[in-house]
Assembly symmetry: C2
Homo-oligomer: 409 residues x 2
């Protein structure tokens, strides 16, 4: 691997600063707004929810990352999603961007806006605008500022999610870091997932978008907490070029290294989002191997991580493999059930559970022990070809129901 994992997140790359504040959007006694600022203009790329119902900030950001105005800032609030808010919601996006524009002296068309929280309520725009002023005045460099920002955007998340790496492009050390939030309404096709990645790499807009669009298919689009695709899912990458590398504007070794780094960041954030799924106690990784086609492997892997019955069995540490093969079977992808093998893998131990579509004669006690790990991998071999895919989810617990039966109060 040509990339090195380092400490930090969205402020790891050169020229990126961050800040946070307690604007009182919805929560008491915690920060709920964050800002990221780049000292140099950024090339941007974005991927967004496929939901027909799109939050106002998604509509706003799509225009920003599609356009040619370099991005200089990101501002995010937790508590209210600004979705199903009509023209008023869009006006509030514009007012927020205008406040950022004034406070930082940047073009308002270069401001990324993110919102997460309850659908259908209007933003308390006065508090948002006041928050922007505080954020603009308290921007700081360094790891700690990034960490604080990643905490300010959490909703039902129990831990903040950030990661950073360095790699080399044309002799220059390049840094890339990111932060993400997301715990419920997570089934990205592009979740109430917000993720922001920043890098000091110089790369063309076309290649940045292509790398992002491709990688998201293998990372964020392969996780699910509850099968609900949010109205707000957003993943934006900013590249400010301050690493001083010769710009990556064609495919080749440098582009491949960049993609590898982006993949590491995206996979790390996506996996940690799944592991921190609302109420989750176990990260469930499902690898489908020996598939005839990639599409088949992906469909089957996603079907298993989305199965409520499989997720509840994992919570109960119950090796109820019938639910796994059942979910494979209704995935919509064809395969021969009589050829399927299934293993469980955790903490370096691997157990054969199913062979030729039937019970392999394993020990229930040993399986239950293995399923007690915080991270469990299910490997399903179709014995059909050489394609594979991995998806990530979590168990279904009492706490998921508790959190979501009364989220708004």
């Amino acid at each position: 691997m040509s990339i090195n994992v380092i400490e930090g997140g969205v402020t790891a790359a050169k020229g990126f600063k961050a800040s946070c504040t307690a604007a009182g959007i919805k929560y008491q006694g915690r920060t709920d707004m964050a800002m990221v600022y780049s000292e140099a203009p950024c090339t941007s790329a974005g991927v967004y929810t496929s939901n027909v119902v799109k939050a106002a900030p998604v509509i706003w950001d799509k225009e920003v990352t599609k356009g040619n105005v370099p991005v200089r800032a990101i501002v995010v609030n937790a508590g209210v999603a600004n979705a199903c808010t009509g023209k008023q919601g869009l006006d509030y996006c514009e007012q927020t961007a205008e406040a950022v524009s004034k406070a930082l002296n940047v073009d308002k068309k270069g401001v990324i806006i993110g919102s997460t929280g309850v659908i259908g309520r209007q933003l308390p725009i006065d508090r948002i605008v006041a928050g922007v002023d505080v954020l603009a005045k308290s921007l700081e460099s360094g790891v700690e500022a990034g960490t604080k920002a990643s905490k300010a955007i959490m909703t039902t998340d129990t831990v903040n999610k950030e990661v950073a790496v360095t790699f080399t492009v044309g002799g220059k050390t390049v840094t890339m870091g990111g932060m993400a939030k997301g715990s419920g309404m997570i089934h990205p096709n592009m979740c109430t997932m917000l993720a922001y990645v920043s890098t000091d790499c110089a790369i063309s807009k076309e290649l940045l978008q292509e790398a992002l669009s491709e990688d998201v298919e293998e990372t964020f689009n392969m996780i699910s907490v509850d099968g609900d695709t949010s109205t707000n899912d957003t993943l934006v990458v900013l590249a400010n070029g301050l690493a001083g590398n010769e710009i990556i504007d064609k495919k080749g070794a440098d582009y491949d290294t960049f993609k590898e780094a982006l993949h590491y960041i995206n996979e790390y954030l996506a996996k940690h989002m799944a592991a921190d799924g609302e109420g989750a106690t176990t990260l469930l990784e499902v690898k489908v191997v020996g598939a005839g086609t990639k599409a088949q492997a992906k469909k089957i892997a996603k079907s298993v991580i989305c199965s409520s019955l499989t997720k509840a069995a994992i919570y109960g540490r119950d090796s109820n493999w019938g639910r796994i093969i059942c979910a494979m079977g209704y995935s919509g992808a064809g395969f021969d059930p009589d050829k399927v093998s299934i293993w469980y893998e955790a903490a370096g131990k691997k157990m054969l559970i199913v062979e030729n579509g039937m019970d392999a004669g394993y020990s229930e006690e040993e399986a239950t022990e293995l399923l007690k790990n915080e991270s469990v991998t299910v490997i399903a071999d179709l014995h059909e070809g050489s394609e594979c895919a991995t998806a990530w989810g979590c168990d279904l617990t009492y706490d998921y129901v508790k959190i979501n039966a009364d989220y708004r109060s």
Copy 2:
């Protein structure tokens, strides 16, 4: 309506008898096998799971209802699903049918077999065969026998499901009744749903299958408890002709009346299955109206009843309509979110919640009160056309997780 609802179930129609026994398949202290027998040979039709992984009895029954041997008996066990059991599982189906054939002096190719319970275990065939003998000797006519049979096939069901109607065909009174089980792994495309309908109507095999295949799209295929499509879903209709009506062998008024009766039976059983979903406290009915096409209305209605977040909110009596419109939005069917109206309806009261895709300014307290009903209808108007569809589901509760975290023990 030209049909009359009467007391009874699978033994309501002329010539149908039933029995049950405690064969000790898995449960202690309860009945777990049932038999239905027709004194006259039956025309049959069936619809089955679309899961690639099909239980052995599904494979067996498909041959039976496709074939030309008249059906005389149904035998069902609860506790073990006989799915993922390979050739052994199919052999056990044949042995069961042979036991029925011997005990009742009927053709084994005219025996319908149903199994429901844990996937991946082999049937205790000796107990099944012994059970068949007891069942054959204890067949009885009358409402009570049908009710007992409907109780014997339950797994995590909390109530038995049966219904019967009469209607008139060519001056003759015809009776139709049915029983069903199903509570978890319910997302029929065709669920661990087993349903059996019996009628004394005379009708051709072609029209019986056509009526069934069409109606299931509007009834059983429009319910979901957990989104998991079982390996065992089976719905079989038997028609023995003992009502003495002139056979229905072409479309017309008689066929329409028959379809109306079948629809009543199917919708009743499907709705009661949804209401008895594992852990459920509320029946959630979702009606999409004003749609441009039927397919669009069905996709949207199903997406809402399958949304874990919507289901958890209903359990919490939380009018979190953002989750409803979000689920509509990721359904895969297009519509204009800015035109959508949403109402709640229960116990004769109707409340406007969303207008033009935004909060209609309703009272949260009144909405919470309304959501406390045992049966709640969500009506979503797309204001696009005149097509509509209805789907049925239930809330997501602690008990769903409890039941499924430790189903096998």
